[in-house]
Amino acid sequence: MKVGVITFPGSNCDTDTFEALSQLGVDAVPLWYTDTSLSGIDRLILPGGFSYGDYLRSGALAAQAPIMDAVEQAISEQDLPVLGICNGFQILCERGLLPGALRPNASGEFRCTWEYVRVNAVPESFPGLKPGDVLRLPIAHHEGAYAVEPGQLAPLFENQQVFLQYSDEHGAVHALTNPNGAVANIAAVSQGPVVGLMPHPERAMAAYLGSADGARFLKAWLGEDRA
C-alpha cells in the first residue's frame, strides 16, 4: 500500500507523519502542492501545520492549491480514502470536502494539550474502531473550534458523520472536556471516504511521548487493526 502525504507551503507536521508511517511499516510517498496526479496512491494524508502561515483563514489558501483538484477528483471517482489532520482538516473543510468550518478557539489562544476523544460513529475507513472507544491524543491549534451552519448539527449526527468528540478519560462528553469551543465537542468528522480530525495521532506513537493511541488510530485507518 502506498500512502501519499501532501506538503503544502508551510506544512510542518509532514515529517512527523512520514516518521509515523514508517514506524508502522508503510510506504509513504511525498507529494508537493503543485503536483497534479495522484496515480498509484492508495490513501492520502493532508498533514498538520500552518499552510501559507494560516493567513486569511486556516486552510483557505491551501484549499486552492493545484493538487486539491486531483484530490477532489480522486475522492469522487475512486473513493480515495483521505485523512486530514489539524491543518489538513481545515483545508478539507475550506475546500468543501468535509462539512463545517474551523473557527478560532473560544479562548482566542493557541492551545497545545493532551486530550481524550471518544469515538461516536465509525467512518467507513476506520473498521478497526468501535463507538465508545476512548483515545488519548494531543491537540495543538489556534483555530480548532468546529462550527456548522445553523440547523446542520442534527443531520451530521443522524448521518453518522460525527466521528470523535472531546471527552474525559472514561468517554464522558461534556462542557468541561471541551478544549476549544467546538460545537458538541466535535473533534473529527467524516464524509464518505474523507475524514478530518484536529488532534495529532502522528504525535502519539509511543508511550514515552505521552501515548501510543495515535499508532492505534493510524493502524485502524490503514485497515490493519480490525479489533
Binding site: T15, D16, R111, C112, A140, M205, Y208, G210
Partner: protein, 569 residues
C-alpha cells in the same frame, strides 16, 4: 548629520577618521553608527566576556560565529544560542517577541543546523501594562514558533516591578547538524556571489534594534521609535527550508543571517570573518517600498532575510533549490579581493569602507579585573543553615506571588510536541529530548535568577549557572555547553557597569568551577527607562547529554513520611 546623531562618541569618531584616513561621508557615518552601537559591537561587554571559559571536550565551535556548537556524539552536533528581543517587545509585544524567535532560529540555521527546540525566558513587571505585555509576548513567541514548527519545550518566567518598562524576552534555540554539513560566516571566497534571500527589503526598523537597544528611552524620545518589524513565520519556514537544503549540497561558501543593522552588519561581518572585501550593488536589492535611499536599504531590519555566498559554478544548483521553496532572491553583489566593502548604486560608489574597520575596530571599554576580585572576596558566604520558623502568612504570601503561579497558561500556548522529540516538556523543570538515530538524547534547561543578582550580582551569576547545572544533574546529564543571555542597564553608569562586571565574573567562576564551557550568548544593555535600570539578569541555557532520554529519571515523589536529604560540600 553628525557623529552624535548616529550615537557615536567623540573618541569613536576620532578613531574612525584616523583609521579611514579621511572623513566618512554620511552613509558611511550611518554604517559606523549602527555597527559601533552597543548592540552590534558589544563594546562594553567584550572584554568582560573574555573571562568566560570557551573550551571543553565537546566544543566544536566557540563564541564568534552565529551560534556555538557542541558534539553530542560523533555523528550529531548541536548548535545552540540565546538571544534577546527586549526593547522591541516593549514597543510591540506580539511582533517584538515573534521577531525575536525568528532571529534566533536564523542564527541556528546559518550554522547549517536544523532547529529542533526553543526555550523562552521572560521577565515582566507587576503593573497593569505588564499583563498586556505578557499576553502579547506569549502570543508572539507562540505565533512564530508554532507556525514555523519548532516546539518550545521549556522556559521560565519571573516578575518584578523593575521590569515594568523593560520586560525581558530571551529565547534560546537548539538545532542539530551532521558534522559534514557545517557552514559558517567565514568561508567567503573571492569571486563568489552574494545572494540575498527572503523578504523584500522595506523601511522596517531603520535604526531599529541597534538604536533601540543602545540608548535609554524616555517620553521625550518616543518619536524616535522606528517602524515596527513584522515577523512572517511562513516566509521564515520557506527561508529555513531553502537555506538548509542549500547547505546540504555543500555548495555554499558561507551563510550569514540578517539581524540587527541588516545588510550592513551581515556583509561587514561576513567579509571581516572571511578576510575578504565585498561589492554590493544596491539597485539589485529587491525593495518593498518605492524610493528607498542607500542608507535605508543598508540599515533596514526587515525580517526573514538570509545572505548566502555561492561561487558562480555552484549557483545553478543552489538557485534551483531556492526556486523550489519559492523564496524571493537576488544576486546583490560579489566577494572581492580588495579588503573593502564597496557599496554602489547604479554604478556610482556611495560608500567604501574596509570591513575590518567597520566590524573589527570599535574601541572597547576596558574590563576592570580588580572589581571582579573584590566581588569574589566580598560575596556573601553561606556559613550556617538556619532553619526558618514557619509562619502561615509568609507561606501564603509566597504561594500567592505571581512568581509561584502555575505556568500552564503560558506554555499551553506553545506547541511543545511538534517534531515528536519531546519526552519531557514544560510540565517538568527541564526538557528531555530524544535525538533520532542516537542512543543519547538532550537535556535542556534555562534559568536566570535576577532577584539574587539584585542583591549581589556576583552571587547571581554563580547561582544562574549552578541552577542549570543542578537541573541537568537531576537527570545525570553531562553538560556539553552553556549559552548566556546577559541583560543589564546603561553601562555608562558606573554602578551598572560594576554590576555587569560582577555578574559576568560570577558566571565565569561558576562555569570554570563546573568545568563547563560557554559557547555563545547575547548581551542586552540599556535596559532602563527614565534612569531606572533592571536588575542585572543573566539567563543561562544549558544543553546536556542524556544517556537514556526515553526513560528520564522520575521527579522525586512528594509523599508523607519520606526523608528530605540535603547534600552540601
Amino acid at each position: 548629520m553628525t557623529y552624535q546623531d548616529v550615537g557615536l562618541t567623540e573618541e569613536e569618531y576620532r578613531v574612525i577618521q584616523q583609521q579611514l584616513g579621511r572623513e566618512p561621508n554620511e552613509l558611511e557615518l550611518g554604517l559606523f553608527g549602527v555597527l559601533w552601537s552597543e548592540h552590534c559591537s558589544y563594546k562594553s561587554s567584550k572584554n568582560l566576556l573574555s573571562w568566560l571559559p570557551h573550551e571543553g571536550p565537546a566544543v566544536v565551535q566557540g563564541p564568534g560565529e552565529n551560534a556555538g556548537i557542541v558534539a553530542l556524539n560523533d555523528h550529531v552536533h548541536v548548535a545552540f544560542k540565546v538571544e534577546s528581543h527586549n526593547h522591541p517587545s516593549y514597543v510591540e509585544p506580539v511582533q517584538g517577541a515573534a521577531t525575536g524567535v525568528g532571529g534566533i532560529l536564523r542564527d541556528i540555521v546559518a550554522m547549517g543546523a536544523r532547529p529542533i527546540a526553543l526555550a523562552d525566558s521572560l521577565r515582566f513587571g507587576t503593573d497593569d501594562k505588564a499583563k498586556w505585555i505578557q499576553n502579547g509576548v506569549v502570543e508572539g513567541v507562540g505565533a512564530y514558533g508554532n507556525a514555523i514548527g519548532i516546539p518550545t519545550v521549556t522556559g521560565e518566567v519571573a516578575y518584578g516591578a523593575v521590569y515594568d518598562k523593560n520586560p525581558l524576552v530571551n529565547v534560546m534555540a537548539i538545532g542539530l547538524l551532521s558534522p559534514e554539513h557545517q557552514v559558517s560566516a567565514s568561508g567567503a571566497k573571492v569571486g563568489s556571489y552574494l545572494v540575498l534571500l527572503g523578504q523584500p527589503t522595506g523601511r522596517d526598523g531603520i535604526h531599529g534594534a541597534s538604536l533601540l537597544a543602545s540608548q535609554d528611552f524616555g517620553d521625550a524620545t518616543e518619536h524616535m521609535r522606528p517602524t515596527v518589524q513584522v515577523g512572517d513565520p511562513f516566509m521564515g519556514k520557506m527561508l529555513m527550508e531553502a537555506t538548509l537544503n542549500a547547505i546540504q549540497t555543500d555548495k555554499l561558501d558561507a551563510v550569514q543571517d540578517l539581524g540587527a543593522a541588516g545588510l550592513t552588519s551581515s556583509v561587514a561581518e561576513l567579509a571581516y570573518r572571511s578576510g575578504v572585501g565585498a561589492h554590493i550593488w544596491l539597485e539589485r536589492v529587491p525593495c518593498r517600498e518605492e524610493g528607498m535611499t542607500p542608507y535605508e536599504i543598508m540599515l533596514s531590519e526587515t525580517q526573514e532575510r538570509m545572505l548566502l555566498v555561492v561561487s558562480p559554478e555552484n549557483w545553478p544548483v543552489v538557485e534551483e533549490i531556492i526556486q523550489h521553496w519559492e523564496v524571493p532572491y537576488s544576486i546583490i553583489g560579489e566577494v572581492s579581493a580588495d579588503q573593502e566593502l564597496v557599496i554602489s548604486l547604479n554604478g556610482e560608489i556611495v560608500a567604501a569602507v574596509p570591513p575590518q574597520i567597520l566590524a573589527g575596530s570599535c574601541p572597547r571599554r576596558p574590563a576592570i579585573s580588580k572589581w571582579a576580585q573584590t566581588a569574589r572576596e566580598q560575596a556573601p558566604q553561606l556559613t550556617a543553615f538556619r532553619p526558618l520558623t514557619f509562619e502561615r502568612e509568609w507561606a501564603l504570601e509566597v504561594l500567592g506571588s505571581p512568581n509561584c503561579r502555575s505556568r500552564h497558561r503560558i506554555y499551553e500556548r506553545y506547541d511543545s510536541m511538534i517534531l515528536t522529540n519531546t519526552v519531557w516538556g514544560p510540565t517538568h523543570d527541564l526538557a528531555v529530548l530524544r535525538v533520532r538515530g542516537s542512543e543519547e538524547g538532550l537535556a535542556v534547561a534555562v534559568s536566570g535568577p535576577g532577584r539574587y543578582a539584585a542583591r549581589d550580582a556576583y552571587s547571581g551569576g554563580l547561582a544562574a549557572v549552578s541552577r542549570v547545572m543542578g537541573l541537568l544533574a537531576t537527570q545525570g546529564a553531562m553538560a556539553l555547553g552553556l549559552t548566556d543571555g546577559i541583560n543589564a542597564g546603561n553601562p555608562d553608569k558606573e554602578h551598572v557597569f560594576l554590576d555587569l562586571t560582577h555578574l559576568i565574573a560570577g558566571i565565569a567562576d561558576a562555569s570554570q568551577g563546573f568545568g563547563v564551557p560557554v559557547t555563545g550568548g547575547n548581551v542586552s544593555l540599556h535596559n532602563e527607562t527614565e534612569g531606572e535600570p533592571i536588575w542585572p539578569t543573566a539567563i543561562i541555557g544549558a544543553v546536556g547529554r542524556h544517556l537514556h532520554p526515553l526513560h528520564p529519571t522520575n521527579d522525586a515523589p512528594w509523599k508523607a513520611g519520606l526523608n528530605i536529604i540535603r547534600l552540601s560540600a
